[in-house]
Symmetry: D3
Subunit: 155 residues, 6 copies
């Protein structure tokens, strides 16, 4: 974790980063179920899951999403604020023991509607892939980022 | 937690439910930081936060979202599958000690594009409000729901 | 979780409910050992357990009981207060990976001794069963429940 | 934690032990709510609790009981097995910040009904008291304990 | 946990104690990673670890050390204060499922430099061994211990 | 978290890094007590602590150390292995609500005794400071680091 200032102008469409991997464990599911209060049998009942098409307990969508987004939380940019997500899709289930890796790429830039001279909006597309190379999650992470304040022209 | 079957036809636009409240605690933030690996000072460093505009530690967006969605996980509907979220917005920060209540309302229904005769899509708008009545989070939760299988016409 | 008011008169002996299942995990044992400070080798030392008659780590009695009772915490009845348990028996050990299901049935009703006109006592017998149908825990959960306040007779 | 063998004959009615204290924290409640799935507003919603007679969030009965029993788990006696509890009573609520101390006293001994020559039953009365000296929990902890095997009489 | 007063003079070089065992679980690693923020792939990425010489996820050094030291926290000595560790060495990796046992032995005693008449320093060598008898951790735990206050000589 | 290869020759004595801050919470202490089994009243009993010279609950030494070391776990260097700590000293107590910042500086380099041509030893001095600028912990973190493999001389 490191502070790395970047203004709106510094973000380039197509610039990407890839994380190291993380194995989703039974403990992760137990802790997330406890934190959210979602103890649905899909996540907590191995016997019932064995009778279902997917055959095993499945990680909560919010767990996979929280971990995947957390894995991209590397540098702290004091000029940027996260304000939401678009098009969050749980493409394939994540099972206990699956290892996910996350790819994050700048895929959109635009001026902020209210204060276009000072602020811009950056879209980062986050894609989590399991150990077989299958995409399990995709989403667009939305940031507001300050624009560079130019020095006033000198007379 | 209870099993309550509902087919696509049973969902009515405008039908809504409201949860009991839940206080977001320092322990929630510590546990979520640990689960996600996001230990940014915004969530973990009270001294630094005191020097910032918001003045206090702020709950992670993914924490507020995970808890709010979890609070809506009441009945299990074996005919429905959650597949994603749209327009997740962190409208206002959530601080330690804030108590959120969640309102969930069916706001959209449409046929599934690939299998329109068997499946429908239901949109539920989830809104979390703090103790002052201020909206802190809104999102659209997306479900695929089975349609009712009609008995074949008799000759 | 839902608010569902029920007065003493609404409880019927023999009325019962059954929960979905929950698999007891190694993480549950580790978390409960940490919460209670009971790190006895029966729960924490797989090597030693392998030399014992039961052969494997065993869930704490208080863990099985806390989870089983929690699984019955569905509706909130503002007219009822839990005040204790009778005859808690750990009938058979619960092992990591076992899945328990809970059956709760109203098995007793009586007037409260101190305020018999206003309050009643309800006994709910809670039975937890593992995936083989073997009872692992039984207890009687005790509630004080308000009686219905009748409208005063009119002259 | 220490191994200390004691046979049925070694337990004396009236022998007692007192634990050090433990403060019940908000984190304990959050963790126990997560472990049990009991997220009732009595434990989790500070705003609602402020409108109730007790005015504050209350620890779960199973939490107080699990911690109190855990606090008595000092020596390991390989000759004894815990098999249940009788008369568990939540005498007074426990609030966040309360500090409990536990007193455990042997209050009953009897022969095991099925194998009276080999096994005995020991009852230990466990009483948890808060920082004001008020009893908050009492229960009877039941153990089966092996009797001392006497050397066979010599001819 | 028990209070057992011991003054500097009561510690004897060579006196030793051995703990019961504890199995290091995946849940322990997940919780410790969360607590410390160290989510390095050595601890969290089973796929990557499978490509490395050790072949499996490895417990954090600070986890093994914290648990091993905690396992020695039996009696509370109000005359002693822990103030540090010397020569902490992670001799061999600890894997998920390994069971460690801890041996602690008084290996050094000396006068405190600043207040030699009142305080002494005690060194306890802590050695953790896995189920194969292999040493995985060793360290020297340092305590300051009060000396016995002798009654003043009588005239 | 990022992979950043550095060979022994790349470490320079005097090169240093400083972390962002982290507030030590009551939840941290509760979780660490649970993980280690060290539930000594110094950490868990607010009432008793109020009667002691330090007046408040104190964080475990192993907690402060684990968090401080974890805060330095930024880049992954595949050429380095942590193998121990020297001179770990708990200089001042850490209380709930204290915020620590960590300074890590390369303070020693030497050849590995067994394989001096291939491996070197690097010492990093880690110092944790609270919000008042008071040092609370210091230790020396020991690494074995690979030396750069030079290309073989050409004929």
């Amino acid at each position: 974790m490191r502070v790395a200032e970047a203004c709106f102008e510094d973000y380039e469409i197509g610039s990407a980063r890839v994380t190291t991997g993380r194995t989703i464990t039974e403990a992760d599911i137990v802790i997330h179920a406890g934190q959210t209060g979602d103890l649905f049998p899909h996540h907590m009942d191995a016997e019932w899951c064995a009778t279902q098409p997917f055959g095993r307990r499945v990680a909560h969508g919010t767990l996979v999403m929280s971990i995947a987004v957390g894995m991209t939380a590397g540098d702290i940019n004091p000029r940027a604020t996260s304000y939401g997500y678009d098009r969050v899709r749980f493409v394939r289930p994540v099972f206990i023991g699956d290892t996910i890796t996350v790819h994050a790429e700048v895929t959109g830039k635009s001026d902020n509607r209210r204060r276009p001279e000072e602020l811009g909006q950056v879209e980062e597309t986050v894609t989590a892939t399991n150990q077989d190379g299958t995409v399990v999650l995709s989403l667009v992470h939305l940031y507001v980022v300050e624009k560079r304040r130019e020095a006033p022209p000198q007379a």
